[in-house]
Amino acid sequence: MDKLPDPVTYAVPAFILLLIVEMVISLRADKSRYDARDTLTSLLLGTGSQVAGALVGAAVVGLAVWLYQFRLFDIGIAFKQWWWAWILCFFLDDLAYYAFHRSAHRVRWFWASHVIHHSSQHYNLSTALRQTWTGFFSLGFIFRMPLFLIGFPPAMVFFCGGLNLIYQFWIHTEAIKKMPRWFEAVMNTPSHHRVHHGVNPRYLDANYAGVFIIWDRLFDSFVPEQNTDPVRYGIVKQLGSFNILWAAVHEWVGIAKDVWYAPWRHKLSYMWREPGWSHDGSRQTSAMIKERWAATRPSEEPAE
């Protein structure tokens, strides 16, 4: 397999520098944007994710290389000759990310792995580093597999995936309100991604984009940020804890308990149905929350 460097490794010094810049801005603008315990939790969760990635990375690469032998097309990796393939790969990888990310919010099995990223009630650059520990176990990597079957070299796909991850770092901030209109129309931005991290009923299950917000506009999951409804961050049932192990595994524990106690015919549903689903209707899914919210808000307020 061709070898390319991991771009994320090279971006880490920039991540740290930007974090410090954002902290200085927060010091002047709003000190409550950061909390030492929350930041420590986020960064330790990021470190844990790095360890998990190092442990299972070889298996994912191995699977990619194995699938690549069944490819439909032969695509080279040299940028000079295959520049269009690089652009196409980045674009398709972002579409695969959209599919993964939407599933990660709509299927509890994938959500159990992804929830860690949403478990902070803050929204700052340290939140971006709150990454999954259990991505391999949840099989989240399968969404990228079609790219290898098409014929994009694994090294190219993983490099594009790294660039995608780097892009997503800077949008985790409240320091930037809006980007220029054309940029907001095409690209994922801090404003769009704030909505994605929101627990306000209006903002639930929206803006799954990685780099290009066009996927949300295309697949009807786009919701704009409203000045009249400031975003509240986190998860519907806030953790109320800075315990990093609990942040990493609490939803898996929830699934295990639910599957254990559920009647036989409902056991699988607690894994593949949407978060909040219950066989007796005793909990609320995001759709139910939105419905309840829509029923109680003043009728003159325009629907989005």
Binding site: L43, G46, A54, L239, W293
Partner: protein
């Protein structure tokens, strides 16, 4: 894990500790308090869409509050970092009354126990909690 992975891990841990130290040292953070009954009700309603609070027992220092709705359901709201977190108060929650103080121990260990200084109202709310267990 390779030697490079271990070096990266060591560097990451050093950076993590430095940044967390910096956040604390430069004075970032807040001291969130529940200002009044209206604030407590808003927090409870935000925590559970459709919940409508009508009565509040607020801790004297504003660290926590219990909010009750018209059907008698209760919600505990407490400070968490710079924000707040809430949980329903149901029959699984253990309440302990000690003069003016009411301590609620949640079944979720990581959420922990919360002690509210409620003055003479503490007995009233402890009694409501007992009713949950009897009902």
């Amino acid at each position: 894990m390779s030697q490079t992975d271990l070096i990266q891990l060591g560097a990451s841990l050093a950076a993590v500790l430095f940044i967390a130290w910096l956040v604390r040292t430069i004075g970032l953070g807040a001291d969130p308090r529940i200002q009044d009954a209206e604030h407590a009700i808003r927090l409870a309603e935000e925590a559970e869409t459709g919940f409508r609070g009508i009565e509040v027992a607020r801790d004297r220092a504003g660290f926590a509050a219990i909010v009750r709705n018209a059907e008698g359901r209760m919600m505990l709201v407490r400070a968490h970092g710079n924000h707040f977190a809430a949980r329903p108060v149901d029959e699984k929650v253990v309440g302990r009354l000690d003069k003016d103080f009411l301590t609620l121990t949640m079944p979720e260990r990581t959420f922990g126990a919360v002690t509210l200084q409620l003055g003479k109202d503490a007995g009233v709310w402890a009694s409501r909690m007992r009713d949950l267990n009897c009902g």
